[in-house]
Amino acid sequence: MAREECKALLDALNRTTARHHQLALTVGGSADSRALRRELRRTRREAQELAAAARARLTAPLRDRGLGGEERAELERLWAAFSGCLDLLEADMRRALALGSAFPLQAPRRPLVRTGVAGGPGGPGGSARSLRRLAERDGDGDGDADGDDLRELEREVLQLSDMIHDMEMKVNVPRWTVQARQTAGAELLSAASSAGPASVQERSGPCDPSKALAAAVFSAVLLAAVALAVCVAKLS
């Protein structure tokens, strides 16, 4: 159904925006490198494609005045979330542009800020991307890669803001009429299942639940082995 498709597209867009945000966090810091910028560019392009697809999907039914009631409310909700996501993406892209031009990699005007973050193959995107990245590194073009990248980014930022403006003009969804479905504690409900064991911990906690679990299992097995040995000794 169209709505499911839209939702899927929107989820994918949100995921890509979040990944882009994570990458943009490290621009200018110690994890900044050509690979990071390339990854940023790839994520950005992906996000833009998803955005264009989602926009095409959502605009048509919303402009159709025949649609009414529940369907329309649902689509408006999706639309509000979609344009909010695009705003976040645009803001992140602008910041990445500002930071990228302030901390150029090719002819570094100033040293990168040593923030303690070391990027690398463990970065967001997982191992599959890192393999691809290694393969690409051989074909790293020289010349003014920085300048080209920034000019492209600037163009994309302008394109995105044009798209947002266009969206606002074509479809009229006043924000105050949209009622979000999620309530105040909604992120806890499904997050409780997924975010449990691998949640980011505060520095003060010395013990790790996974490590504690492993230690408990190990000691149980050890005790069982000791009990068995004692029994064997007793019996023999």
Partner: protein, 537 residues
């Protein structure tokens, strides 16, 4: 949309960033250590003592100054302490600190948006399994009410960002979490800690004039619901100095007087304001008292007013303005010879007419207050032109006048005017060639290919500044000006009549119902007594 608005780029931030960047130099920067946490080792830690030492060495400061500078860096979020994240001070011992990533620098992001804060709180909610406490819980509820329409996005983004973060290495995850936490500690400080990113009403686009009014209004009601998200003009307008504010400076405050006068200079230079320096204007009062976008925390002390200014007193700029202009104000110091509205004697107006042969003494004194005053007065401008003629730089003023005409003239005359100005003043062998520096000249000539009314702005500004800095002070010291002062007339005060009713009756102004003299006596009776008007007809 986040990202710097013009008013949010404060100059002290870029200076601090330069300091931080110079600390990163691999040879001459600060010594870095590593932090060891059980198994993970995170590099790029600095000790507070090392930072203080580096600052002392690099900038030749005393220890106290270095500590103060370091504390400022920590308070603005460029450095953060690792052990006790809430206490934002630089301790000159082994306390470990780390640098903040440039993404979270205040100048990159601009003022923090509500949406970002909502996402951060949602993430924290997930991490803490719903156990947000204190002011964060309040903020969360408030944001949920305010931003209900975007709550879907907030929840989804929070989850996705946590998921994206999980794919990093453990050390990186910890560092990024600390960075984010520091950023929000600086931008949404817990109650009781003054926010260093306070801009105060005088920093915003609304003039400082409103500030004198704000002193008396009481602080905003903390129980006010539904405060709108963005204020109409000021980026972060704050409730106001309460009468109980302590006059001592809080450590994070910066001297405001200097930058505000700096801004006034630039406003005067760029925008040719109305007569004189910026007078307090009533229209700006309503802007600066706008509602605060942050949830008002009643317990936080109000922002520091600057170097030891007692609450309720106007800033020194206003005192200077008032004392300088007091004698010139007709309400405060009376007008000579007499107030025409009272005595019906319009000598005052004839003596102060725009073009009069001999100006009054007060008027000539006013030319000494500011260059804008001099240029605004036709008599003053004429005398200044004569003076420039003796100095062989009269073409400057003529050029300036021609540019003004271009700016404010009709659209149809623009090309012709631009052409004539070019021929007269800017062409290489022109009769009255003005001396503009090469860069401005190049950009002007480039712009002349497509003339519009603002092409000559740069050149006009350059010449204006030249006149203001160079010729104007010389004019004030010149013999011509002193002669003018000596010759200026001081009209004598009109003799006060002892009995006001003995004054000759004021001229009856022609009644609007009076028809011209060709029609006869009827209108006179009609004017005098409407009740018996029918008698006349």
């Amino acid at each position: 949309m986040a990202g710097g608005r013009a008013g949010a780029q404060l100059p002290h931030l870029s200076k601090m960033e330069r300091v931080v960047v110079s600390m990163q130099d691999p040879d001459q920067g600060v010594k870095m250590r590593s932090q060891r946490l059980l198994i993970t080792v995170i590099p790029h830690t600095v000790a507070g003592g090392d930072i203080a030492e580096w600052l002392i060495q690099k900038y030749c400061l005393s220890e106290e100054e270095a500590l103060h500078l370091g504390t400022l860096l920590v308070q603005h979020g460029y450095l953060y302490p690792l052990r006790d994240p809430r206490s934002l001070v630089l301790r000159p011992d082994d306390t470990p600190y780390r640098f903040q990533t440039p993404y979270f620098w205040t100048s990159t992001l601009g003022p923090a948006t509500e949406l970002d804060y909502a996402i951060y709180l949602a993430k924290k909610n997930i991490r803490k399994q719903g156990a947000l406490v204190g002011h964060e819980k309040e903020h969360y509820d408030q944001l949920h009410r305010k931003m209900n329409h975007a709550w879907d996005l907030v929840v989804v983004q929070a989850r996705e960002q946590l998921r994206a973060a999980k794919q990093r290495r453990k050390g990186d995850r910890l560092v990024i979490a600390c960075q984010e936490r520091t950023y929000w500690l600086v931008n949404r400080p817990p109650p009781g800690i003054p926010s260093v990113l306070e801009q105060g009403p005088e920093r915003s686009s609304c003039a400082a004039a409103g500030r004198a009014q704000l002193v008396r209004t009481p602080p905003a009601d903390p129980l006010l619901p539904n405060v709108p998200l963005t204020a109409p003009c000021a980026p972060t307008p704050r409730p106001l100095l309460s009468p109980l504010a302590s006059p001592t400076c809080c450590p994070g405050c910066k001297p405001r007087a200097r930058s505000s006068t700096g801004r006034r200079w630039s406003a005067a230079g760029r925008r040719w304001p109305g007569p004189g320096s910026s007078p307090p204007s009533a229209s700006r009062r309503e802007c600066a008292g706008g509602p605060s976008p942050d949830p008002p925390s009643g317990a936080s002390p109000p922002p520091c007013p600057g170097p030891a200014l007692a609450p309720g007193t106007p800033p020194p700029r206003y005192l200077n303005f008032s004392s300088q202009r007091g004698p010139h104000d007709p309400f405060l110091s009376g007008c000579l010879p007499s107030n025409p509205w009272v005595t019906d004697d319009d000598t005052y107006w004839t003596v102060n007419a725009p073009s009069v042969a001999v100006p009054t003494k007060l008027r000539v004194e006013r030319w000494g207050f500011s260059f804008q005053e001099l240029l605004g007065d036709p008599v003053g401008r004429a005398h200044f032109l004569a003076f420039l003629g003796t100095e062989f730089s009269a073409e400057n003023l003529s050029f300036w006048e021609a540019c003004e005409e271009l700016r404010y003239g009709g659209q149809a005359q623009v090309p012709a005017l631009v052409d004539s100005v070019y021929q007269q003043f800017l062409a290489p062998g022109a009769a009255r060639w003005v001396n503009v520096d090469s860069r401005t000249m190049e950009s002007t000539l480039a712009g002349l290919r497509r003339p519009h009314r603002y092409v000559l702005d740069d050149a006009q500004l350059h010449i204006y500044m030249l006149m203001k800095k160079d010729s104007y002070p010389r004019f004030l010291k010149s013999a011509a000006y002193r002669d003018l002062l000596a010759v200026a007339v001081v009209p004598a005060e009109a003799r006060r009549r002892a009995f006001p009713f003995l004054r000759k009756p004021p001229h009856p102004s022609p009644s609007p119902t009076l028809l011209p003299a060709s029609t006869s006596a009827e209108p006179v009776t009609a004017a005098s007594d409407p009740a018996c008007g029918d008698r006349g007809t």
